[in-house]
């Protein structure tokens, strides 16, 4: 990763223009060419430095349901429960974490009402309580990573 890659990552985490030739506009701000910028973006995406490039949508405002949920699973039963929970297509991310509540997953559903149904189904299928922790409020963050 050289100075231009870093400039791309540090300057393009938001504010990409909506105009006829946006890459050309950004390239001239970064002191490079449109072709070079496109080539660098392709490479950064391909090697995994960037996970995506484009609009970031606000999931809840698209009308669906979104929540964070946590479960406390005895270690000897963990893998069985992982298999059951992950089989739900509504489970988008699932992480093992170091805590008594040792499984944390994000549920994303087509409608807000569906969240409660999926939680009830997971409790029924696993036999364990699901702690639903939907966000009550989101506080503004810059969300910037320095490269």
């Amino acid at each position: 990763m050289d100075a231009l890659d870093r400039a791309i990552i540090n300057n393009l985490q938001g504010g990409f223009p909506i105009c006829d030739e946006p890459y050309r506009a950004v390239a001239s701000l970064l002191g490079t060419t449109e072709d070079e910028l496109l080539r660098r973006l392709d490479a950064l995406l391909e090697n995994g430095t960037l996970s995506r490039f484009g609009p970031m949508y606000h999931a809840e405002r698209l009308g669906g349901g979104l929540t964070l949920a946590a479960m406390q699973i005895p270690p000897q039963d963990f893998e069985r429960v992982v298999a059951i929970v992950n089989a739900f297509p509504e489970v988008a991310h699932n992480y093992a974490r170091e805590h008594a509540l040792n499984m944390w997953f994000v549920l994303a559903t087509e409608t807000p009402q569906r969240i409660d149904q999926v939680i009830a189904a997971i409790e029924r299928d696993t036999g364990y309580t699901v702690h639903n922790m939907p966000k009550r409020e989101e506080f503004f963050v810059g969300l910037r990573f320095e490269a």
């Binding site: 990552i9 950064l44 484009g54 970031m56 170091e98 805590h99 499984m103």
Partner: protein
């Protein structure tokens, strides 16, 4: 009721309406923007409307917050941020908004949310994701948050992820 800070977002507030074409544009762009000289023209061709209409709809979705931002999403692991701690805090409910604003403003925090407690198992009502190159760096940043909170910090802990069990993108089907 006290006035809400201007920078707080309210997911429960009125949902701006999207029509079928907005949804087509979302489906066409949710995995990324075409990397061609005229990306909005490419989207217009794909969904079958004029490019001006595509740009207008994207601009509107940005203004009403359906689109958070347009740009690059770095993979923080790839940038060397290997340690990712979910710091969780028990703060007085009546101060959570004021304190959430302060913590969200820190460079070290990438997400900051108020969530419900689940007593007795879970006393924490404020979540802040903290990223660092290693756990020491995360712990240093967590201490800075504790200093900022002072006596409002009635207890906190940091949960590190030990394994990714599943990771698929959030997707809408249009």
């Amino acid at each position: 009721m006290t006035p809400r800070p201007a920078t707080a977002l309210h997911p429960e507030s009125a949902e701006p309406r999207l029509d079928a074409m907005d949804r087509q544009i979302i489906v066409a762009t949710q995995s990324g923007l075409p990397r061609v000289a005229r990306p909005y023209h490419a989207i217009a061709t794909q969904v079958g409307i004029a490019v001006e209409d595509v740009m207008h709809r994207l601009q509107r979705m940005l203004e009403i917050g359906i689109i958070r931002r347009i740009g690059a999403v770095p993979n923080h692991y790839a940038l060397g941020y290997q340690a990712n701690g979910m710091s969780v805090w028990d703060v007085p409910d009546e101060r959570v908004r004021e304190l959430g604003e302060k913590i969200g403003a820190l460079d070290s925090v990438s997400h900051c949310y108020q969530r419900p407690r689940h007593l007795p198992a879970w006393p924490y009502n404020l979540f802040a994701m903290v990223h660092g190159r290693d756990r020491d760096e995360v712990e240093t940043k967590v201490r800075a948050i504790a200093d900022l909170l002072g006596s409002a910090d009635r207890g906190h802990t940091v949960l590190y992820s030990t394994r990714i069990l599943k990771k698929t993108g959030l997707r809408i089907s249009g």
